[in-house]
Symmetry: C2
Subunit: 100 residues, 2 copies
């Protein structure tokens, strides 16, 4: 399965706040259990009406099972990230999809 | 980079229409150029307010470069899929993100 998260940060954040968010996001990549873990920013692909490029950061993790994703959710690095950074986002949207 | 697409299908589609959509979506996985290509459906992860599980299908392709994604967009299998299946979706949302 793939766990996909998009973050829209508060527009009033300082550069330091944004850097701390990015560092926190990057810390999630070290959590064991994911077979693929990436973070990214909207790509400069040609603009199309169907593309949403309004978010600030994407996070994506592949897991072999739903149970592995559940374990990730309660990992101390993940809970520390949410607690320390959640005040910085306006909106977060998660898409969890199971491969078919 | 990752090219992520979510499809919301028309609720009135027949089972045959849905099967043809799925077959078309699956045909995209054979397009060369992606280092990772998966399709999937909303996973049964624990419900949370931030999760959007209202879509019918997800498609995700990783490309080594933005140029490779541009090539994919105009591949005959992709254009045939869009032409033959676009009447079946109510909404499509694309997130293209560049790894950071």
């Amino acid at each position: 399965m793939t766990h996909t998260v998009f973050f829209w940060l508060r527009p009033d954040l300082s550069a330091d706040d944004r850097a701390a968010f990015e560092a926190g996001l990057r810390s999630l990549l070290a959590i064991p259990g994911a077979s693929r873990a990436v973070i990214g920013k909207p790509a400069a692909t040609p603009k199309r009406e169907v593309i949403d490029d309004s978010y600030d950061w994407a996070l994506e993790l592949d897991f072999a099972s739903l149970a592995d994703q559940d374990v990730y959710q309660v990992h101390p690095i993940h809970t520390a990230f949410v607690e320390s950074q959640k005040s910085k986002w306006d909106r977060v949207r998660v898409y969890d999809f199971e491969w078919a």
